[in-house]
């Protein structure tokens, strides 16, 4: 169990985070890539596969659940890959990345969250 957990659990967290941060940042009604696995329309209680924009008839879309499920899938893939790597060679690296990647993700996400607080803010990605 420990030999699996030492690589799979950090691998899962890293993979999840590496997918979730850009998924939140780059999802929009006109996104070319389907970041969320599904879309939920809470006003009518309807689920749709993939990224579906909202409108006046079906109400606002919720992509958060879809991002999480997509990120879980990516996290599991990373966990499997991590388990295939030699334990001694990667354990220290994973033990560092497991907290460094989330911190970098929070900084990355802040760039896309700032427009809510600073209306003139343009995410650095495109400026």
């Amino acid at each position: 169990m420990n030999r699996i957990a030492s690589r799979a659990f950090p691998g899962f967290a890293i993979g999840f985070t590496l997918y979730y941060a850009p998924a939140y940042s780059f999802t929009g009604a006109t996104s070319s890539f389907t970041w969320p696995l599904f879309t939920y329309f809470p006003a009518i209680g309807q689920w749709n596969w993939g990224l579906v924009p909202g409108n006046d008839n079906i109400g606002p879309p919720m992509w958060w659940y879809g991002w999480i499920l997509s990120a879980v899938v990516v996290g599991l893939i990373f966990a499997v890959i991590a388990m295939l790597l030699p334990e001694k060679a990667v354990q220290k690296t994973l033990a560092t990345l497991v907290w460094v990647v989330p911190i970098l993700a929070f900084i990355f996400l802040l760039n896309w969250e700032l427009p809510w607080f600073v209306p003139d803010w343009k995410p650095i990605w495109f400026s």
Partner: protein, 151 residues
Amino acid sequence: MDTALLIIHSVCALFLIGAITHQALGVFWPRQPGQTDFVAKARGINPAGYVTAIMVLYVVTFLLGAYIYPVYRVYVRPPLQDLMLTYAIGLFEIKENFAAIGLAMLPAYWYFWKKAPEYTTTRKAMVAIYFLTIWYNFIAGHLLNNVRGFA
């Protein structure tokens, strides 16, 4: 029903705040020999003893929040947009992102705290991340509730 769940969500978050704060104090400001005051007693705990409680409380709080999230999306957020209170929406956006990434870190948090004591830097860093994000989420949720209230 939704209001009752929101209150339960808040109470669970309060317990979670207590647990992560105790653990963070025990990790970063441990009690020194001879200290017996109230604050020192709050710091004089075994940080590893809080791991299971933090994990259970985190998952329960997260699930409750995820369950009532649609109510926010339909009844709370649109008026905030109409009133141009975008900062309040931003507070929630950060909260949901912290919550999701924190959830994904839980298995690793369990492993490093229960099975790998040699990774002290990782253990401390994860406690610091949880401490800051859980406190932020609690305050942001409280502020948002004050701004708009529930449906």
